[in-house]
Symmetry: C2
Subunit: 145 residues, 2 copies
DNA sequence: TTATATTAGTTGATGTATCAAACATTGATG
DNA sequence: CATCAATGTTTGATACATCAACTAATATAA
């Protein structure tokens, strides 16, 4: 029991290691943080959208979204305007120059991902994906002690 | 190509999701951050050790280690002393009261881990572990563009 | 033995995620 | 219509990780 438990612990630890490694390496390669790229990626895919929708897609805090967008707006990567039909929500989209820049990052990321999974077959990817999903479900179900 | 690539991207994304989820949930359950628990866990396992060795084990920044330990020392969870044979290094260990407290956290974590992997067979754990290891190797090999 | 390099640890600056509190706007109810 | 609840966004406080610059101690080499 103690042994199998510590084995699981190691898997969890490995997961965190890989994750940290990904973030560090990728950010080091591109100069953009993962979460910022997630935001930009989402805007690239979706076009104009509300901050709320964006926040739900990329799954980081409201406050963080606001701050990222503020900076991105200053650098003319992103533009914002109020929804004329509901002044609570603000719409965000990539600027033209932002859109161009993001293209390069997306290629970079694609390359990164291809390298990361270079020796994974389709089946293995699927397997990994399924396992992660199960982990996610299990963890969601955990109650506060 | 575009399709399989975005599939990989989703796997990577899922990995990050799970990781974030783990950290949030666990910290929410115990009130201790993962990295702080890693530090305490390591001290629990190893006993007294140098900060350098600790840092290498838990793999977070020197500066972060220093700051964690400073706080833990203030709260009497940990005690530090200089290595009399080499005044550059400082040894750290759990205090008696620290040791007791950590026991509870470790149990909490064991429970958490058991829940997370509750429907995973030994083989599956091993499989996941191997895949993560491969990812790690692949990512290590990626050069800055 | 004095100068230089290396090692361990600390501190300051910066970036970013989080929660909670505040705010403005809108919707719903009496 | 007036009040109250809900929604979307912002700000402030806090926590943490990272890098770079710094200090102190030791090891190396001239």
């Amino acid at each position: 029991m103690s042994h199998s438990c510590s084995e699981k612990a190691n898997v969890l630890y490995a997961l965190q290691e890989v994750n940290k490694q990904i973030n560090q390496k990728f950010e080091h390669c591109t100069g953009v943080s993962q979460s910022r790229l997630d935001i930009l990626h989402q805007l690239y895919e979706t076009g104009e959208m509300s901050q709320k929708a964006l926040q739900q897609q990329v799954n980081i805090d409201n406050a963080a979204i606001t701050r990222h967008l503020k900076q991105l707006e200053e650098r003319d990567v992103v533009s914002r305007r109020k929804n004329p039909d509901d002044n609570r929500v603000t719409f965000v989209k990539l600027t033209k120059s932002g859109h161009e820049k993001i293209g390069a990052f997306r290629n970079e990321k694609a390359r990164f991902i291809d390298e990361a999974f270079k020796d994974f077959s389709e089946e293995e990817q699927l397997l990994l994906s399924k396992m992660l999903e199960r982990l996610k479900v299990n963890i969601s179900a955990i109650e506060r002690s």
